[in-house]
């Protein structure tokens, strides 16, 4: 056997919950410059099911939290994302993308209108360049404050709502993609009803020195167990959600990535604030005339997992695509994947061959998400 996870050697950062992870038996691995738990003693499969059946608590403090203050913050942000930020109501959250001049994706992010400011969450591996990017483009219009002293926890799963309501009854008012300031375990938290699993749930921003108290309070509920990055990945894959650096990157546009839903009409051709973001010419042209490849869901037809990097061939043996994420879907009970295929092969149920260890295996283009979403919409 080979390919054990590499030992943690280089100088890695730790989140405010590091000691708690060790106490809970987390297997720590390097991820995006941090020492993070890939799983706890129960293992990825059980942690995945725990989140689908009850509730999982994730430490996502490695992600970047940034506060954008100033009356022109929303308008300025619209200059770097193809998203409607100006009309985002107070306490509402929206998925967004930083684009480059070629229409590619620099990162995906969440923007919340927190009233007096915008609260932005970006990917851990991209946060330094994202902050530099925002400073470069937004500095004249707003204050950009990385919230390095805050932790971020995610409570995800069908029991998340009742657990949260028992700690903070006002949380009942929250629906998917809305936010509120709540007091949890005596700590002032900024909470959004959102996540990265396809389940109902919350993301909780809290001062670093109060994070462990909040985490312990949540873990004290019998419905809640800690969940590591391994299950976070299998959960988001089943939910059909993109992982930056894999399913989307600087060479994939939002249209190719099947993320057109993230670009509101007001930013598209004919909209009141059309274009005005990097790569708008490319992206709006693609919306008008189509793309040559597209991100699709893929269902292997056998039990063999088809993973990132597998080539996809048509029946004649021509290369027509590549898998960008793939693995076993514990809730689906079968392997699931996603990837880019030439548009001619992107229709649902198109049969293709995935090359795994040199051999072709039949797969089909499938709809995503692979599991039903359970977002709470009131």
């Amino acid at each position: 056997m080979s390919e054990f996870a590499p030992p943690v050697k280089e100088r890695l950062l730790r989140t405010p919950l590091y000691d708690l992870h060790l106490e809970l038996g987390g297997k720590m691995v390097p991820f995006a410059g941090y020492e993070m738990p890939v799983h706890y003693p129960s293992g990825i499969l059980k942690e995945h099911q725990q989140t689908r059946n009850l509730a999982g608590l994730f430490d996502v403090s490695h992600m970047g939290q940034v506060k954008l203050s100033g009356s022109r913050a929303a308008a300025a942000m619209e200059g770097i994302v193809p998203v409607d930020v100006i009309d985002l109501a107070v306490n509402c959250q929206r998925y967004a993308l930083f684009t480059n001049d070629d229409g590619g994706i620099l990162d995906d992010l969440m923007i919340t209108n927190a009233g007096g400011h915008l609260f932005v969450v970006v990917n851990a591996a991209c946060k330094e360049q994202d902050i530099a990017h925002m400073r470069r483009h937004l500095s004249g219009d707003c204050d950009i404050e990385p919230l390095n002293d805050r932790a971020l926890l995610a409570l995800q799963g069908p029991a998340a709502g009742e657990v949260m309501a028992s700690l903070a009854p006002e949380s009942r008012r929250l629906v998917f993609m809305t936010a509120a300031r709540l007091s949890l375990a005596g700590a002032d938290c900024f909470v959004t009803r959102s996540g990265y699993t396809g389940e109902d749930g919350f993301e909780i921003s809290v001062a670093a020195d109060r994070a462990e108290a909040v985490a312990r309070e949540l873990l004290a509920y019998e419905q809640v167990a800690p969940v590591g990055l391994g299950a976070r990945d299998s959960l988001r894959l089943e939910a059909g959600l993109c992982l930056y650096g894999h399913d989307i990157d600087g060479s994939t546009t939002p249209v190719e990535a099947s993320l057109l839903w993230a670009i509101q009409k007001v930013r598209r051709a004919g909209g009141a604030r059309e274009a005005g973001f990097p790569g708008a010419d490319v992206i709006l042209e693609q919306i008008a005339t189509g793309v040559s490849r597209r991100r699709v869901g893929i269902r292997p037809q056998s039990k063999l997992p088809v993973r990132e990097g597998s080539e996809l061939l048509d029946s004649a043996g021509n290369r027509v695509g590549t898998v960008t994420s793939g693995g076993f879907g514990p809730t689906v009970g079968a392997p699931v994947a996603m990837g880019y295929v030439d548009i001619a092969h992107s229709k649902l149920d198109t049969g293709l061959q995935a090359i795994v260890r040199g051999k072709p295996h039949p797969v089909r283009v499938a709809k995503t998400p692979f599991v039903e979403q359970h977002y709470y919409r009131g």
Partner: protein, 131 residues
Amino acid sequence: MSNIPTELKYAKSHEWVRDEGDGTVFVGITDHAQEQLGDLVFVELPEVGETLTAGSECAVVESVKAASDIYSPVSGEVVAVNQTLEDAPETVNEDAYGDGWLFRVEISDESDIDELMDADAYAGFIESEAH
């Protein structure tokens, strides 16, 4: 601490070998290996009749996270594979040294077995790998 039966021999790539005394051996992965890999979701085994060379890749075990190569600890011909793993790969996690065996080989060179570690040596090897 993982389970390391004294009657087995071990390879540095974390496979175990059980000598049946009739010119054949059973091969599997160690308890330590299955612990490190986590829940297995797929096992790809060699074909019966295939000729294996000691130290070469001959099977793949896949966890939720990743695929890992299995190396044959001995040379010889595959005479049986554990077909129950096709539907129940988790058997390797549950019973690594028993029902979770991978394949059986008719060995071509008995001395391959002498090259392998005994339980004490393997315990020491795991210890040294951890530091």
